[in-house]
């Protein structure tokens, strides 16, 4: 009974957590490279060096003594994002869209006092949101103004695109759309919906919410399918480049599309989740095995890898 279930998962090419850890993360992601992706500040600096665009960095708070100085660093900017450098799963991020009467207005419309912001920065520095509870830094970045492409299927917040890259080849992709339930956050475990992307066509497919497969956004009621993603090839290219820049062979790349700046690299993940398989309604394992069998010469440049991915990962089948 259980074995039959396991076999049917295997037939569907589903990648399980044990196999992901044992056969992809451990052999392909060197431990020494993890800090590059666990610390968003390091990722940012690295991306800058490789010419991959990221959201603008306004300021970094590294010590409790510097908390008070962060306002000066804002230099009158009305909108910004406050996030922990080592946070995981979107925790500890605050989006500020406006400032009124000395208060900060969050994206969800809540007014936060200066003291609360200070407290939050202090929390970040203490490492509350950090993956291993280590001391952390607080980043203050520019707010992203999402491109209109997903505006009809987004409830507040910023939708982002997750691409799984294996040995430099984009293997699977999805877009994560915030919902009312997810409080404008693009994290699936908070209730955002994941929508698979046909890599070859650069178009969305059906979506998946906690409840199961859906065709329309639960809050806006718009059709999720067949949205053409702008800059798609460029995004695939950025994702592919991320492998060269970090040396991580199995990588989750998170991108956002800014109205003015185009695609920006948001963060990298050395242990990307497996939910993307549900959003795509297909297993990842088959694609990873296909990549293993790909001709050696395509691995030479990101251009070739992206071209191979576009050619192979499209339509039904795989």
């Amino acid at each position: 009974m259980i074995i039959r279930q396991f076999l049917s998962l295997r037939r569907a090419g589903v990648l399980g957590i044990n196999r992901r850890n044992a056969e992809y993360i451990m052999p392909f992601n060197r431990r020494s490279s993890f800090p590059l992706v666990d610390d968003k500040l390091l990722t940012k600096q690295l991306a800058l060096k490789h010419g991959i665009p990221t959201p603008p960095l306004y300021h970094v708070v590294s010590h409790h003594g510097d908390i008070a100085g962060f306002e000066r660093a804002l230099a009158g900017r009305q909108e910004f994002v406050l996030k922990p450098a080592r946070g995981g799963g979107g925790s500890g991020i605050i989006l500020i869209v406006d400032r009124k009467d000395g208060k900060f207005m969050t994206q969800s419309g809540r007014a936060i006092s200066k003291e609360e912001i200070h407290y939050h920065i202090s929390d970040i520095l203490s490492g509350i949101y950090s993956l291993e509870g280590l001391e952390d830094k607080a980043l203050i970045e520019g707010l992203i103004h999402p491109d209109d492409v997903f505006s009809k299927v987004t409830y507040e917040g910023v939708p982002d695109v997750r691409i799984i890259v294996y040995r430099g080849i984009p293997a699977m992709a999805m877009v994560r759309l915030p919902t009312k339930q997810s409080d404008g956050k693009a994290n699936l475990h908070r209730g955002a919906i994941g929508v698979g992307i046909d890599i070859g066509k650069g178009k969305t497919m059906d979506g998946v919410a906690r409840s199961g497969v859906i065709t329309h956004h639960p809050d806006t009621g718009e059709l999720l399918r067949d949205i053409e993603i702008p800059y798609w090839r460029k995004m695939l290219f950025m994702a592919s480049q991320s492998t060269d820049m970090t040396g991580l062979g199995y990588l989750g790349v998170d991108l956002v599309i800014d109205k003015n700046e185009g695609p920006l690299l948001l963060e990298l993940n050395a242990r990307p989740g497996l939910q993307i398989q549900i959003a795509n309604q297909r297993g990842l394992l088959k694609r990873l095995e296909m990549i293993e069998r790909a001709p050696k010469d395509i691995f030479l440049s990101p251009e070739k890898r992206v071209a191979w991915s576009i050619q192979n990962f499209t339509g039904g089948g795989f």
């Binding site: 259980i2 044990n18 196999r19 929390d123 549900i278 309604q281 297909r282």
Partner: protein, 512 residues
């Protein structure tokens, strides 16, 4: 077999196989150590008072049980922390001596477990010179005893003994002794009491005898020991009730504590207030049965056994050896089943703590502390404390909660509430913090699911480490740890699906 880990695992399985094979085949170890054992719990409690203004040390001596034919004393423990305790053999007796500063403590307590195994009775040794005590009576009385017993001199020792015992009931057999002698004898009996006249008669027929103080093994709380007379009949010791002159039959188990006339408990530098002996029947967990056998063996693997180390450390190792079993369970439940838990090893520590609190109390206390801690954590969230002081605050709260539980437990006599001191408080505090953050970030549903997962893993782990034969097997065969290491290597190589993934990816599986 492409992975080197598998070969290592096979090697790790072979080591215990060889060692256990040797122990079972050559040393005759049981493959599954079971079979219940009869045992008695012996407790001696002495309450005393030091002499006023007496700066001297107090010294208390008491006869204690000793291993002898058919019975083994194990797990002797002195529970009075204030006085120094020594065991000193004195003649035929094992004397416990407590000495020390009388200002600290007014009571002492000693505990031992006595194993009975009649099968292991050794051939009794013939008595030495100590078994011919002098009985101080008038010369004429002694002569009378001799005259009265002359008639039995030709009988075999067992019959001789029976004949003498019969006289205490006035049965002298045909022909009756002279009236005069009988009359005189009954006045002597009045004068000295049954015990002494019995001894007198037995001595006049040259029976080796011993006066014994101790207990007939039955559940009891006594303030005075039983007394009997041990009589050597050439082959074995017979035991005679000193008051009635009845012979104890074979089925009665006796626990001698003091042979000879000395009082059971003596004190110098103080005054005895009360002495209590408590005997309780125990169904002993089977650890001890093996202890006894292995302890006496000289074989290499027997001597290199955990049974050889002192008792209080054995206790620690009994628990320590369960930890690998616990972590093995965690590995299975997390990597093959896919339970979500708070922290990786928190459930093992919970399971270990449940050993002292019991499962339901343990889960209840755990849930209660986390719930109250969560409310507290919510309350102090507004205070904006830095991380480290905040966690320290929670730890302090958890310990405060334990203290209150213990006080409630002591008030209402709920032992389990007092035993929670062993619950891992640091982990509990971290759990409160994680629980709070999980509720904030992923919602109450996910947090409750994780809490339920932790509780389930802890319960399963607890149920497994509580299996008595399993515990004993690990204690007798510590080399089984290699097996666990091997299993963990195999688990570490498992890259198949988790059971939880059947549900998680059900949609995908159904499509194929």
């Amino acid at each position: 077999m492409k992975r080197p880990g598998l070969w290592l695992a096979v090697l790790l399985f072979l080591i215990p196989l060889v060692l256990i094979g040797y122990r079972v085949l050559r040393l005759g170890y049981p493959l599954f150590p079971t079979s219940p054992v009869k045992a008695w719990g012996f407790t001696l409690e002495i309450f005393f008072e030091p002499t006023e203004g007496n700066g001297k040390e107090i010294k208390i001596k008491a006869g204690l049980p000793e291993s002898r034919s058919g019975q083994t004393v194990i797990e002797q423990r002195d529970l009075s922390s204030s006085l120094q305790f020594n065991l000193i053999p004195e003649g035929l007796n094992q004397i416990g001596v407590w000495s020390g500063d009388p200002e600290r403590g007014r009571s002492l307590s000693y505990r031992a477990t006595i194993l009975l195994n009649p099968k292991q009775a050794r051939k009794p040794k013939p008595p030495g010179p100590e078994s011919f005590p002098t009985i101080i009576v008038d010369k004429s009385e002694e002569l009378l005893a001799r005259r009265l017993t002359e008639r039995y001199a030709s009988l075999k020792p067992p019959e001789k003994l029976k004949a003498i015992l019969a006289t205490t009931k006035g049965i002298w057999g045909e022909p009756l002794p002279e009236d005069n002698d009988l009359k005189r004898w009954s006045t002597i009996k009045e004068k000295y009491g049954t015990e002494k006249v019995l001894l007198l008669l037995l001595r006049s027929l040259d029976f080796p005898v011993r006066k014994v103080q101790g207990f007939i093994l039955k559940e009891t709380i006594a303030i005075e020991p039983d007394r009997w007379i041990a009589v050597w009949t050439g082959q074995k010791w017979e035991h005679v009730n000193a008051e009635t002159g009845d012979l104890y039959d074979e089925s009665v188990c006796l626990l001698p504590l003091m042979i000879g006339d000395s009082p059971m408990v003596t004190i110098s530098g103080g005054k005895l207030l009360e002495t209590r002996w408590i005997l309780i029947k125990q169904t002993l967990s089977q650890w001890r049965a093996h202890f006894e056998r292995i302890y006496r063996s000289g074989r290499f693997l027997d001597r290199w056994s955990l049974f050889g180390i002192p008792n209080q450390f054995q206790e620690i190792f009994r628990i320590l050896l369960l930890v690998p079993l616990g972590v093995l369970m965690i590995s299975v439940l997390r990597n093959i089943v896919g339970f979500p838990t708070f922290g990786i090893f928190m459930p093992v520590l919970m399971a270990l703590a449940f050993r002292s609190t019991g499962l339901y109390y343990g889960l209840g206390i755990f849930g209660g502390v986390v719930l109250i801690g969560y409310l507290l954590r919510r309350a102090i969230d507004r205070l904006r404390l830095l991380l480290v002081p905040r966690l320290s605050f929670l730890i302090t709260f958890v310990i405060l909660a334990f203290t209150i539980f213990a006080l409630i437990g002591s008030k209402f006599g709920i032992r389990e509430f007092m035993a929670i001191g062993l619950l891992p408080f640091v982990i509990l505090s971290m759990t409160i913090e994680r629980f709070f953050i999980l509720i904030e970030e992923s919602g109450a549903l996910q947090a409750l699911r994780t809490a339920a997962g932790s509780a389930a893993v802890a319960t399963i782990t607890y149920k497994i480490i509580q299996i008595d034969p399993l515990q004993l097997t690990f204690f007798v065969y510590p080399e089984l740890l290699f097996t666990i290491m091997g299993l963990l290597l195999l688990l570490g190589n498992y890259s198949g699906y988790r059971l939880s993934e059947i549900l998680r990816f059900k949609v995908l599986g159904e499509k194929s």
